[in-house]
Symmetry: D2
Subunit: 411 residues, 4 copies
């Protein structure tokens, strides 16, 4: 009888290597190793060999970067999502895509389960599993770090290394960094370790080596750089006159943002699983895109549409953060967001300088800004009659006057 | 029989000087000139003499700065207000205070009307008049710029100057700036004139003279400066260890922000009266306060309280922008905001550098961040059982699985 | 030279008859009379002759009932709209349709203006004119009741009758009712006159003659009647097994609701123009549809989608009430609503009895209710593990415990 | 050494009787039985003796009805809470009060844990435990139905009866009803058993015996009854001219509602633990109070306050439903709600008739309805100038015209 198959989200690091082997033994199953290339760069070399050497029966290494940019990052940026006023959701938005591909592979391979190496304290486990639940409710999820036997077997790093050696698992002898990181096309996150103390200052010069995507503002060029982003219906489609795919947009903006010390965030955030944690993020390209998008909207988006959409940002962001990307409520919100972006078309000019993104002009063929109306000079088109403001104010004041009158006569 | 009295919001500039005289003649009334000191600095010298010389029967010049900081700026910053994702509402929040004092004076003096020099195209007329309506519905408002006769009599600046000369109104022969400004303790705004073109770049070096409160990031010191803000229940009460009043907080932060090139915003915004307009703002201290406040909240505010409050920022901001400060719905929102700030107490450390406000640590005696819970290391307190996440995820996934199952069986 | 053309929303009553003539004389224009049949029943007979006799150059009487039901009533009911918790928006939702047809006629006829007989105190003027502004900003709107000359010429009904007689306008000598009404496919409204006193009780037996669409609950049959409504994606598509168009659904439900004393509402409401007013409504079919739709949703709509949609009902309803049907923010909300209805399919059984609409069963091929999961009996499918609730509760409680602990240690 | 103490929420029924004994044996602990009188009526007689006979070391039977009405029901009704558009939260609102008293007793008695008999599938376990977590994070919660050993020991009712007999636990030999119920001052709920089929019709005549608090509309008196409720700041303080406490209000309204067939709801609802379930409710008094409160608000509440509050009803209701009564976000919302009720004072007249609650007049000393403004007759006070509507409409239309113009020129 054929063995059960399990698709494992595999990174090649110590944890998922040990998990690969452990799953294989514990479940007497075939393990299909899967690694998504979502822009984490150099970590993919030699992965296939390593996975096979560790015991995988098959290996998938799929380049999902274009899909990530187009179907995940871009729609999210249309919404103006910003978790708790600070976080651009770089890790959160990647998890559903990985889960989506995992269940696709599981179905193609006839696997009955997927597995991941996320811990029981974090958000990622939730994101993976909610995405899987929404896409493939019939597929089981195995999360070894939430299995007591696994945790007992591996109380610390030492036991994992010993296990790896014992089972001939190739492990790179890397010095453990005093924090953990997650990297993709949108950002790098840093957390835990020394960062667990919220009074610790990662921006201090002595800690500058932590950052991988950007220089610090202090180390950025003394010369500002101007760039132009072109938008169509809320999506950036060109940079400095060159038409680009979403993936190319992200790559170029990351380069630009990194060079100019843009996009670092250091925050305490609220996890879905109930605790606060401290995270440090570099989102160089995303931060530029976020700023440019808002500026594009300011010229082309209707006032009430913006107000409505803005009032839903907290909700949208929380959905993404919590892992509900494929949930029906996110789809409903996205329908609203998509509709809101219909007129968000034009060009934004920005000046990048030592951590700053400075607006330097905005224009649009479908601008809703009419200088003839706004001007303090004489308006030849007579589009606005100042006398109209009297009635406008009177009727807006009416309920206030009635309330106030009632209140005064009952003091 | 005693003449009718009108209280005029008087700045000493050409417009309100002409209006003072015009009102006096047109209504055959006593004009009480009122100027609020809300931090506009040097513009107050010689005002009393000038108003009397122009025909005022009485002059009030009231220092409202402390009240402005404590009862207007601080409660608003507790809410996290940011209009259309960009504007810190520096002008908007000052208008209700001015109107409040005007109706106080009107009542004390037995005046039947108040008057202002705001144009019929802007937001300020609305803010003044809605505040007055809410506080003193029995008092009339006169807005000469919305009176056709007045507009006909003064189609341009030339006619106003001629009128001033003719009536012996002292007018400073100042070169007209190619934009208009409004300054107070919280900010300076710049709009109209050359700024009406949204592609015009006020951040370009050749335009640097426009800015009065801050240097440009380029001209800011090469040396970063660290500061510590202490908060109590959402209000900043001390800076670098020195206990300060709200007014002192604003003054010190303005100085610091201005020195480090912080707080410039250039945006297109939506006015309540229906059009988009372009505004440029300097809010050096407010920008620091805004950032520090969010960071303080991140450590001390409950997740769901923050989500709830954040979902209301668009509404709160719009209320303030539109002039509904004294409206019952703002009071209802403020009650929620006040409650939300009960635990927002602690210390934020910031690094100011060339336009950047960089978080450099946060701590609190009532921190809701528990490193024992969040840590990836072994937690001696066992406050968090990783196994709990399984049930948490399963129940959160339940509705997604049911939906997905139904959908798949009906494809 | 050809005369200017004006399209007038014409009802054949005294007001719009006088206005027709007055417009023709005052503007020296051709008047095109337009009457929309939106279900107001018997009032349309002889209208064309009357309009021509009064001076119209052309007459449009268009049956818009099917469009009204399908493109206006049904999408609105998908949203669960209920203004201020009570009003089903019967008048509000009709106005944009009328305006839409008016500007279509204006464009087809080359007219430069449209005119209506709504007063300056009500909501309808706003609804007509905002719809026209959104659809045809180039077309002027003439609202005689807001023109001082017109109001001066016609201070009361007597002057209008005299004018009509003088100009040979045929006027039916109807006894003026002590209230005014507006009727269409969705409802009849009653307001003003004796109803202006909110302590006046229109439900008292002596006032029963006012109501036209329904009997009172007291006069309804003693025998309950069961009906079944079938929904597809949030729209009612069949009644008691018979497939019906939206128009037919409304007609049948009106009959049923009217027969059983269903759908009367008596309320004080807040007008967009700033005052409270008292309105009494009969919405027999709409009330059944509203109730049935919610019950259908309860079985088939995801929990979070419902929560999201419900949180937007106040906003959606206000948009419709205020006349922003064609505004971009309503379209954005509608996109969300449409998405939310994708699974709202199935059958609702209701019992109609003397004013009551009593749920008597609901079923669906895409039901999200799974009795195996919900049952208190043993669940053979094991879809729910009670132990999961422990982790779920623990993690939901975590932030509460942390907060509470901090609070207790700082009392 | 003293034994550990556990406070058990004890009803005297089979489940909690078995649990009492089981806890005592399993934990070798003293069991303090606690029963809250929250209006469940006759079920309290003989409870103390029974608990002691079953093994309790001490018994608390506390009358919490006044506190329930005043501090829980009334503040909730001020908010207009209605879960998923249908459910008045009768069970949800009682749980936090019971938990509050349990932890008070636990602290007074030095108990280390509280225990309850709620199942692992329902909302009540969550409500008890979240309330306890928020009030007393140091106290443990024991939920036997979520303990596998307990479930294994008691797979069905038979095993519980056997255990009871074996341990001399007095059990009333009641015929099991084909559904389960929960009763308190606000409502009775019915669920599970025959009700699990959502097509089952509990309103059918053959099922009428299920209902305990109300007659069916069919069986209600043929004669309508008029009542007057007086409100002060959003709370009902008198009925038909007689000043009443909140508890008395609820008792009287229950009697009235029950008599007239008012307040039955049959719905499918979404539980916090992730599944849909079917619930049938009788809330006779609450339904009257809910309706009267809205009508009182309609006359006395500012339009924008109502809109703001209404937009938060879904959130508030969900918080209560999910058990977050003592969570900081509920307190923040309540602060808003309390502020919103300041002017909700006056008298509502209702007509009760066979399931209908018909508005029959509303009045208030602080009414915001001004007939002089609203009237279609001549207004002697000139409080409203119809001409003002022109400017009001023009400025509201401005952004629509600009949008529309842009759209048309880019088709």
């Amino acid at each position: 009888m054929a063995k059960e198959k399990i698709v494992l989200a595999y990174s090649g690091g110590l944890d998922t290597s040990v998990i690969l082997k452990w799953l294989k033994e514990t479940y007497d199953a075939e393990i299909i190793a899967f690694t998504a290339d979502i822009g984490q760069k150099d970590e993919l070399d030699g992965l296939e060999e390593k996975a096979l050497a560790t015991g995988a029966s098959k290996v998938y290494i799929d380049d999902l970067r274009a899909e990530f940019a187009q179907d995940f990052i871009f729609p999210m940026f249309q919404s103006g999502a910003l978790y708790e006023g600070q976080y651009l959701l770089g890790t959160s938005i990647a998890r559903p895509l990985i889960a989506k591909r995992m269940v696709e592979i599981a179905r193609a391979e006839g696997a009955t389960a997927i597995a991941h190496g996320a811990t029981g304290k974090g958000n990622d486990q939730v994101r993976f599993e909610l995405a899987a639940a929404a896409l493939a409710p019939e597929i089981k999820v195995i999360a070894p770090w939430r299995i007591e036997e696994f945790r007992n077997q591996f109380p610390g790093r030492a036991e994992m290394i010993a296990y790896a050696e014992e089972h001939g698992i190739p492990v790179k002898a890397s010095a453990a960094k005093p924090y953990s990181t997650d990297r993709n096309l949108l950002h790098i996150s840093y957390e835990s370790g020394v960062l667990e103390d919220p009074w610790f200052d990662p921006s201090a010069p002595e800690n500058k080596d932590m950052y991988l995507l950007s220089v610090s503002p202090e180390d950025a060029p003394d010369q500002a750089e101007y760039i132009e982003l072109e938008f169509e219906q809320g999506n950036c489609i060109a940079l400095n006159g060159e038409r680009l795919s979403p993936l190319q947009v992200m790559e170029k903006l990351n380069e630009l943002g990194g060079k100019h010390g843009i996009g670092r965030v250091d925050m305490v955030e609220n996890r879905f699983v109930g605790m606060k944690s401290r995270g440090v993020y570099e989102t160089p390209g995303g931060t530029i895109l976020f700023t440019a998008h808002r500026k594009m909207e300011s010229l082309t988006m209707d006032r009430e549409v913006m107000n409505l959409r803005d009032s839903l940002i907290a909700r949208y962001s929380t959905l993404v953060y919590n892992g509900f990307w494929f949930a029906p409520e996110r789809l409903a919100l996205q329908a609203l967001v998509t509709e809101s972006q219909k007129n968000v078309t034009g060009t934004v000019r920005l000046k990048l300088y030592k951590g700053n993104i400075i607006g330097a002009g905005v224009k649009s063929p479908v601008s809703l800004y009419n200088p003839n109306i706004a001007t303090m000079e004489a308006d030849p088109t007579q589009a606005y009659d100042q006398g109209d403001a009297t009635g406008f104010i009177h009727l807006n004041a009416l309920r206030l006057k009635v309330s106030s009158g009632v209140e005064q006569s009952h003091k």
